[in-house]
């Protein structure tokens, strides 16, 4: 046992050093590559040593793939396969499963490290570990524990109640005689999908369908950058090739979907078509009543648990809303005084 952990420490040091040498890009994910290498080494130590192969694969991606999105997706794929392979194998001990769950939670919630509220996170990890124990270390148990941790905002602290609720339900099932459920393939799938998004886990946690359908990519735009106070209007020339207006709200997070935020050539623009610009931020999400716009046009911002997509929506200017010579956009006069209708840009070309 002692030999195994000495080997693990040596492997972790070597892997972290190699990762530190190779890390060359400035994102918070790239900069924690040594931490990721250490986490993989620990997971390999409690499961299968061959899992360690993920380390050179990550390093290879860092060296070869310059495109940030592609590189981080590659990292996610490698980690997804690593964690998926761990839970897919023969059932491991509760201790081993607990280590795997904590490792996954660290990667999904602790990047960037500067945003970690340590005591809250420790509390959440504690709840997740109890879930693993209640599920007796099964694959699906690990997946549930990690998913519970991922989807718990922890801001405000009372949202820990979500994780506790999951735990209570599982305990109730267990008391009611629920048999051991392993479901290795399902567990592997859930873990792999979660780890795939580890570089933008915040988006997966707060807007899962947006993430699954495809994180937003930059599109060609002609910036407008205007903010209209309630009742204000503006007339805009439509640039050549423009297909949509990118609109978002400011201080509109408390408005319910369906609320009219403004009009474009007299046609209402409602919450649901657009959203408050920052409603998907970690600190604002719980308080917000908005939902992801029908045609989201926000940009992907930040990394890890802090990642979010702004609430801009794409309002088509073709079809019934087409304006041959110009658009008149007006902010609804019944909006709260501090609210603003933000016209971010024209989107150029078809998607």
């Amino acid at each position: 046992m002692l030999r195994k952990w000495v080997v693990t420490i040596i492997a972790a040091v070597l892997s972290a050093y190699a990762a530190g040498v190779v890390a060359q890009f400035g994102t918070p994910v790239d900069s924690v590559l040594p931490l990721i290498a250490v986490v993989i080494t620990i997971v390999a130590a409690v499961s299968r040593p061959a899992i360690q192969i993920a380390v050179p694969l990550l390093l290879g991606g860092e060296i070869v793939i310059a495109d940030e999105r592609l590189r981080l997706v590659w990292f996610g794929l490698v980690l997804g396969f690593a964690f998926g392979a761990v839970v897919l194998g023969p059932r491991s001990s509760v201790l081993g499963s607990s280590v795997v769950a904590v490792a996954a939670i660290v990667l999904l919630r602790w990047i960037p490290l500067s945003n970690v509220a340590i005591w809250r996170e420790v509390l959440l990890v504690g709840v997740a570990l109890v879930i693993v124990v209640v599920m007796r270390g099964t694959a699906i148990g690990v997946a549930i524990a990690v998913a519970t941790a991922l989807f718990t905002p922890l801001v405000p602290l009372r949202t820990i109640g979500f994780a506790v609720a999951v735990l209570v339900v599982l305990v109730a099932f267990r008391i009611a005689g629920m048999p051991d459920l392993h479901f290795p393939a399902a567990g592997a799938l859930v873990l792999a999908i979660m780890m795939l998004f580890f570089a933008w886990s915040g988006v997966l946690a707060r807007a899962p369908h947006l993430a699954i359908e495809g994180l937003p990519s930059p599109t060609p735009r002609a910036p407008v950058r205007m903010a209209l106070a309630p009742g204000q209007s503006v007339s805009l020339d439509v640039p050549h090739g423009a297909t949509a207006l990118i609109v978002s709200g400011a201080n509109m997070a408390r408005l319910r979907p369906g609320t009219i935020a403004g009009t474009m050539n007299g046609i209402p623009i409602r919450i649901g078509e657009i959203a408050d610009w920052g409603f998907l931020r970690r600190d604002h999400f719980f308080k917000s009543r908005n939902r992801v716009p029908d045609h989201p046009a926000g940009q992907l911002r930040d990394y890890g648990q802090a990642a979010w997509v702004d609430g801009a929506g794409r309002v088509e200017i073709r079809g019934p809303r087409v304006a041959a010579r110009g658009l008149v956009v007006r902010a609804d006069q019944d909006l709260p005084p501090a609210a603003r209708l933000q016209i971010d840009a024209f989107e150029l070309g078809s998607r």
Partner: protein
């Protein structure tokens, strides 16, 4: 094709796996597809074909993993099932390889087939005149330099006609695809025979299942199994011959060796020693008895009649058949080759070729088919290896000795390891014999690297062909990304570099250390972490300027000028490479700075500017000359101010 690939990959586990392993394998396939679909939505601009190939290779790797680790009671393993699996996978390779026109010797073999089918002769003159109607899809074909010419202007191919003859039925049925399907069938037979060889030689099923994917679905066999080269049929013949010799079944090894020799004249150098071993039954080699092939009822050992001397004479007569065929086909018993090629040459060339075949970045086993490195290392433990391995290795020695000093030891314009594909089954057997002694981490690294090679080769079949300039695909890609010389970190014996010397020494140390492999236990995690450290170290080293700048290399940013010699020059490897600059052309490179020697060739005096200093270069005639130059450190621009110059290298 995507649907066909999905169906085939779904079918593979059904062929061999059972019970929980089968269910788990199929479930994981679904998981992988779901993850792949979700991942593909995150990078919308990514190359779809590359992503699809990578997904299918990952699925194949996953299946291979399940096959390797499946409990014995949940797997139905046999040579026939292995062959069926190979057939399905190789069938997918045909359209993949045909994404780009066939290349190298392939179109010439097909031209001969077309000539046999349409004209019933071997004269290709009319084929060259009417390439538009050829299934080769290559209208740029010309007779190769040195191809035999008949007394009435007939244009014969330098290649032996036996392979084109074998391709005839397939070609008649399906044109180019039919011809490729014929090779695929030989690939399937090769896989079947190799698995049978494993069984004959006492390799346990678990090991055979672990080695099988790295043999059948990895380079070089995978690529040659769907391309028109004689190598895969030859490998099949060779493995059948070894099995026949081991089982003392003359009706198996004699036809196999004859076919082997007819496929390519050089294979006579394998066939003859093997035949002599079979006839003389050399001491130290046990033939038959204890061998599964002879234990089966109705499958008795058969021997040649007469005493050993008579048998040798009979065999020599039999093996003169390829020479006679070639004499009829091309007017010379040795075609474009000469008996003088068999004479010993400088020892240095033997060392370069031998180490090159093992370690070269572009053409060596280490980087192009790492499984076989284990097979090579197995030779260290000679006495513990199976008899079949020893027989195969002994039979290959003369051929290897003939091959390695040749300028074309690396295979020329062909997918990697062309000349040693024939020995793949034997070295796979060697690898299997020591498989349980190999570190899990090393096996994982080999598997991952091999998967990468497959993805690369299937996605970009044209990149299987690489000019012999001392670089390789990986080095070039990194050099282009960082504009720094990464290629120098890969050992090159084509253009001997420092890495080759280091790799040679390390390999020799490894060779000796393998004697003590049982006493050395490195945990897998440490082995993989050390590989990660090596990767990091090479990454750092690669970004620093090298001692030698080869001007045609990928790290040099060229603005004008052209490659010398041009890419498709016949026997390009015989030339000293370079980059030709004309007046106003320039190039830039990362330099370590200081005094340096510039090697160049210039038909007339030329003027160059290096980092702001102008140097006159005198004419060199048809040869090369050197000039001393002073080069600043960092990124340096070299301009041709006047005349034209072929820049070879800058050595600090």
């Amino acid at each position: 094709m995507i649907v066909a690939a999905v169906v085939i990959l779904f079918a593979l586990p059904l062929i061999v796996l059972r019970g929980a392993t089968l269910r788990r394998s199929l479930a994981l396939q679904v998981v992988l597809y779901v993850v792949a679909v979700v991942a593909s939505r995150q990078v919308p601009g990514f190359d779809r074909y590359l992503a699809t190939v990578a997904l299918f290779v990952a699925q194949l790797a996953l299946f291979s993993l399940f096959l390797a680790v499946a409990p014995a009671d949940e797997v139905r393993w046999s040579a026939n099932r292995a062959a069926l699996i190979a057939l399905l996978v190789y069938a997918l390779m045909i359209p993949a390889m045909l994404r780009t026109p066939i290349d190298g010797d392939e179109p010439f073999y097909l031209l001969v087939t077309e000539s046999i089918v349409h004209d019933h002769d071997l004269d290709l003159a009319n084929q060259y005149r009417d390439l538009a109607h050829s299934a080769t899809g290559r209208t740029d074909l010309r007779p190769q330099f040195g191809d035999p010419v008949g007394p009435h202007g007939e244009r014969y191919s330098r290649h032996e006609p036996f392979l084109p003859l074998l391709l005839v039925p397939g070609y008649v049925l399906g044109g180019l695809r039919g011809a490729l399907a014929t090779i695929v069938l030989f690939g399937v037979l090769l896989v079947r025979s190799t698995v049978r060889l494993f069984e004959d030689e006492g390799i346990d099923d678990a090991t055979a299942r672990a080695v099988f994917p790295l043999f059948a679905f990895a380079p070089p066999v995978l690529f040659y199994a769907a391309r028109i080269w004689p190598e895969v049929p030859a490998a099949f013949c060779f493995v059948e011959a070894v099995r026949g010799v081991r089982a003392r079944r003359a009706q198996r090894w004699i036809p196999a060796l004859l076919a082997l020799s007819l496929l390519k004249l050089r294979f006579l150098l394998v066939a003859l020693p093997l035949a002599v071993m079979a006839v003389l039954r050399l001491p130290g080699f046990k033939f038959a008895r204890g061998n599964r092939a002879t234990r089966q009822p109705g499958n008795p050992a058969t021997r040649l009649p007469g005493n050993p001397a008579t048998r040798i004479v009979l065999l020599l007569v039999a093996f003169s058949l390829p020479l006679i065929v070639l004499w009829f086909a091309s007017g010379s018993a040795t075609s474009v080759h000469s008996w003088r090629e068999l004479l010993p040459v400088q020892p240095r060339l033997y060392a370069i070729g031998l180490f090159g075949l093992v370690l070269d970045g572009a053409a060596g086993v280490l980087f192009q088919a790492p499984l076989y490195l284990i097979g090579i290392l197995a030779m260290v433990r000679w006495r513990e290896t199976p008899q079949g391995f020893r027989v195969g290795v002994m039979a290959s020695l003369l051929y290897i000795l003939y091959l390695v000093p040749r300028a074309e030891w690396h295979g020329g314009w062909s997918p990697p390891l062309r000349y040693v594909v024939v020995f793949a089954p034997i070295f796979a057997l060697g690898a299997a014999s020591v498989w349980n002694r190999i570190n899990t981490g090393v096996i994982a690294l080999i598997a991952v690297w091999s998967s990468g090679l497959v993805v690369h080769g299937v996605t970009y079949p044209y990149r299987l062909f690489h000019i012999e300039n001392g670089e390789n695909a990986a080095g070039e890609a990194l050099s282009q990304i960082y504009h720094s010389d990464f290629s120098r970190l890969f050992p090159s014996f084509i253009r001997l570099n420092d890495a080759a010397i280091v790799a040679g020494i390390v390999f020799m140390a490894l060779f000796i250390a393998f004697l003590f492999v049982d006493r050395i236990h490195v945990p897998a995690a440490i082995a993989i972490s050390l590989a990660a450290c090596a990767l990091a170290a090479l990454f750092v080293a690669g970004q620093r300027p090298g001692r030698i700048v080869q001007f045609e290399d990928a790290h040099v940013v060229h603005k004008g000028g052209e490659l010398f010699p041009e890419q498709y020059r016949v026997a390009r490897f015989l030339y000293r490479g370079g980059w030709v600059l004309h007046a106003t052309d320039s190039l830039s490179f990362l330099a370590r700075g200081g005094e340096a020697r510039l090697d160049y060739a210039a038909a007339a005096p030329a003027l160059i500017d290096i980092g702001g200093r102008v140097y006159p270069l005198s004419a060199t005639g048809s040869g090369y000359a050197s000039a001393r130059v002073s080069v600043p450190a960092g990124r340096v621009t070299l301009r041709c101010v006047g005349g034209s110059v072929n820049l070879d290298a800058l050595t600090f």
